[in-house]
Subunit: 375 residues, 4 copies
């Protein structure tokens, strides 16, 4: 067993998602964090690196420098986690991909549609792997749901209801020094979508992951409720999927009483499924004409074989779901050493492009009074 | 105490909603059912009446005959419950209203918009009262929610999420001899809206009742999933309310695992509320920045003073909520004897018109590819 | 259809359970309340009767007078509901039973064990029916649970966990003018058991009703937490059933956050069942080795055919469950007119005796430091 | 930052709890696993160690040899995790403690009461730390509950209801080759308590941890339902606490529909708390006379400052709670290097003794027909 040498771009002191990636990478003991451009200056980066026990020489102030040097080192990083604000995803990913270093990148893929398309190309030319951390797809019961839909347990899908409400931006937190709120409501760093880019994409991705359906068109009513906010904070979308299914997506950052209430409901000709992120170890299944059943992670009826570490009734959470992506990315990286490319369920750069296309379509539709637009 | 003499149009053997109205009228002992045109022939009507202990002479085969004769009787009915399929509401209500007999009518108001407008006029000219049984507004926790919104507990309302999914029409039940399914999917008897008229109106009415908001425009994507069905069975609507709130409404009859899952969530600048019809004794309130609280009917924090008969923790249900409308209608009828018209919360003929306008707007929007239309 | 002529003892102005009995009797329209000894003086009784629309001549100040006179009237009452404090149950029931008037009596059967035994004898000698309103047995999902156990769905029963916590006596409400609290904490009127008699008996009865098991012995730790209170307010009981099952019963009136949280869980060799009174339309069933399923009143898998008036998803509550007892008592009374005695599930005078024996055993055990005592 | 060098006794291939300890130790990156006696032979131990990336030289077949050699190594382990069946806890812990190596030991403390007492003495004489992994105390909402009780939010505690039902031993799994089931039902390896030792102790410890109360006496009805099983599989206990609180404890391994349904409810003079392990991110609080509130990990009203890694609404689970113990043990170990002994909430060897005394008392009581015995 030798652990994969991992670097990180972003994730300096005080950042939320960087710490999450580090725990996720560590949970199954398959990575070793050895380098990073944790902040935008070398000093800050070294300070963050020191707290993490990273050799000072491998703490960089600049992702390009990091990519160049690490690519030349004998024991340089094999993979890098990119956990910056959205607008840095593309330029950073590009530097590593073109040097053959695998990229594990936070979502959304990029802050603009052109960047996303360029990144698809760069990734296509690279031998290195690209994994997008739409982490909710790593929850075992989400995988279970996907398996059940794919196996026909619901029959042909008719209706998809997905939502992701939060309440943390109910007031103008971005004017009160909350760093998370600042960049997530800043079009320069987040892109043209606010709530829709931050969490609407998660909802959209989750619905597609579980159902296997592709949206063809949508009508989106984006709205900003908090005065002075520069991006949308509430998102209402109607969806039409290829094959005839209809969907509804709601995401909001101004819905008091909702923390991270991502919830998916899927209804087909012969059954329904319901899953909620805040209680992720359960999946509710109703075969039409039978009682509703509660499937549990690892419990009776659970057929998904990956990503469940402990027995049923002992809950796994967000970090374990996230870690499943890292664990499976490690499988790919190890296989890649041997020139193999096994099948997998990890979100790809193409999935990332779809997410950015979704954001773009929502913004376009909303600007045209929520008219229907194609994806 | 003298009980109000009540008649009924519709509600013969095997009908669902007629029996509900009778129990609701009886629960608080303020009505006595003494006459009816229970079915479309005199014989059937008498058979139904006999089971109900109604004097044969007051069992009619025709609502016009009933209205005429009862209006002339010294102890004729003071009020009539109309519980027929939708297309009969208008002609029946007209006959009673013009003779000064109070009308308690099931929803939707009528099967067509012109009928609804005519009924508003007829009711306006009549001295008699008109009550529409949007029964979900009778639940004590719905009243509590309305009071809280009105008192400013949520601040200005921003987002309204309302839904009413069912699953009983997942398959083509209307072709298998189910009477309920037959008329509810028949445009001749139900009007141009199927699911949207049957339960979408309930959801729409509930959202308006609780928030006090008026919708200005909507975009509706109605769809029929079951082959051969003549009316919509799934309804997706975006709403824009006067004052700037945005809403989403979903109703469906093809969502396996949902029985009568009417659910309302309202979010304002300072708080959120959640209520679900299947667990109607609870109301969840989150003041922004505080924990979510569970208000119970009759429990701590419950300020609504009407319509709760038994202590908290002993659940009341659908019939009690329905009975609250009858009980309060009885208050109005008794006051009317004295020439008084007290304030009340009962759904009016104007609310009924709004419901039919909602159905009409949804159908219009949907025919234009879910374009925005005004209400 | 002719309605059964019903009288009432107790249930004057301000009483809780009297009003419940009246609604329950009225719900299915099979009774007519025509007489009563509503209070302990004729004047108060007439005042209460007047509010209920009862002929003044049939409002009595004394149950003996009422029994005597009604027995002689041509259209005298056929049945009487006894809804007084516990110590009046026996003397009142006796007067009616010995005159052939059916008795529907609130629980517990009596305030003392000798009274209970005498009442069993009196009832045995009478031709009239005796029904005890252990109303929770009237809930359709409780009946469903009983059917499932009886049909072997759980295999041989091993463990019974039943509880009934409340919080309304957390403070000394009996010293603050709350009439309900006064008599329920008064040994003269309630008997030797406080919480154990008021709600512990409900829990005990429910467990026996669903499982069909007879308790053989118990160890009870009764305790009074509120200073100055004269009866127990918290009850902990271990149970051993004939056949080897073991049980645990908790009832409390000092458990903040519990309204009427009666809950039963039954586990057998091949499955488990869970039911909660505050959400009474659901029954959770787990066949061992399969997922947990949610059965709903009237929904898929519901096999109980009585006592469900409206479709699944439209909740019925406490009053409907209570009314089921009245409805089925009406069946018995009607059959009795014809000399028939059909099978039924209504709680009998013998069930009432068991309840009083349970109270007595708990008090005996508790006085001996919670030693095991036989039932 | 230098990581603590950790060894492990037990936890070879196929063991459940060893893997849990390893993840818990790794989660916050404060330990490095460098040695182990993973199995009872050197060969098996080396095989397990190889899978874990441990130097072959530091894989031992014997905990005594390991303790001796590691104590002499310059970079020998500073701490050892003992994750064997119960009967090995004492002899293994002794060898490390007497050589000054900190011990992190799984529960229950030992398989016999004499061993437990000896271990307390050994730990008392050692300079090294001893931490018992009653891991449920590591959940943030359990800590929150403890803080609230300690701060007087519930007033004086009256009633404690704790339970831990499972269903995995509903059938005789120990005869079907399930290793977990074998040793946990074997008195040689588990001690005199089966279910009571395995999970009853968790429930007992949790109640004491949250309330701060000490049980003085108990009456226990242990029972074995599965034929041929050598230890109890269902546990019913009445508890009396110093100061007058009363409690009830149920644990079971034969309750179908329960996975790891540990649940604690505490009621005091002014409020109640409820917590359930399967949904560990919530804590329900009812101040008497106010609505029930849902506190969430990291959400509004959450005052516990340790052990919450990610924002509210992103669930943490069993592994994170377990990791909190390791993280805080690391704090102690680091402080110990400097000769400091900070205050902490970690379960101690004395807590472990209490757990074994609880098991012993339950067995004693049960053998005397569930008579009351002192603790």
């Amino acid at each position: 067993m030798s652990r994969i040498r991992l670097g990180m771009v972003g994730g300096g002191a005080g950042a939320f998602i960087g710490a999450v990636h580090r725990i996720a990478a560590r949970l199954d003991d398959r990575y070793e964090l050895v380098a990073g451009a944790f902040s935008s200056t070398a000093d800050k980066s070294k300070a963050s690196g020191a707290e993490l026990g990273i050799d000072e020489k491998r703490c960089y102030g600049d992702f390009t420098e990091m990519a160049k040097r690490e690519a030349r080192l004998k024991d340089g990083i094999e993979a890098v986690a990119i956990v910056t604000p959205n607008h840095v995803h593309y330029p950073a990913a590009r530097e590593f991909l073109k040097r053959g270093i695998h990229v594990i990148c936070d979502k959304p893929l990029t802050s603009t549609l052109p960047d996303a398309k360029k990144l698809v190309k760069v990734a296509g030319k690279s031998d290195a792997l690209f994994v997008l951390t739409h982490n909710y797809t790593g929850y075992p019961m989400v995988r279970q749901a996907r398996d059940m839909v794919a196996s026909g347990a619901l029959g042909k899908i008719r209706v998809v209801q997905v939502e992701y409400p939060q309440d943390w931006l109910t007031e103008a937190a971005e004017t009160e020094g909350l760093k998370q709120a600042e960049w997530r409501t800043d079009p320069e760093r987040s892109g043209a979508g606010g709530c829709v880019g931050d969490i609407g994409t998660h909802a959209y991705n989750l619905a597609g992951f579980v159902t296997g359906l592709e949206a063809e068109s949508l009508a989106a009513d984006l709205h900003t409720f908090v005065e002075g906010r520069r991006l949308d904070d509430n998102v209402h979308v109607l969806l039409r999927y290829a094959g005839g299914a209809r969907g509804m997506l709601w995401s909001s950052q101004v819905a008091p009483g909702n923390e991270n209430a991502l919830r998916l409901r899927v209804y087909g000709e012969t059954g329904g499924l319901e899953w909620a992120q805040e209680d992720p170890n359960y999946l509710w299944h109703t075969p039409f004409g039978e009682p509703k059943c509660k499937l549990t992670r690892g419990g009776a009826g659970f057929t998904e074989t990956t990503g469940s570490r402990i027995p049923p009734g002992h809950p796994e959470g967000y970090l374990e779901g996230f870690a499943n992506l890292y664990d499976q990315a490690a499988d790919l990286i190890v296989a890649h050493r041997d020139g193999k490319t096994p099948a997998h369920l990890l979100p790809t750069v193409e999935d990332g492009l779809k997410g950015v296309q979704f954001i773009d379509a929502c913004v376009r539709s909303s600007r045209r009074n929520a008219a229907w637009v194609d994806l």
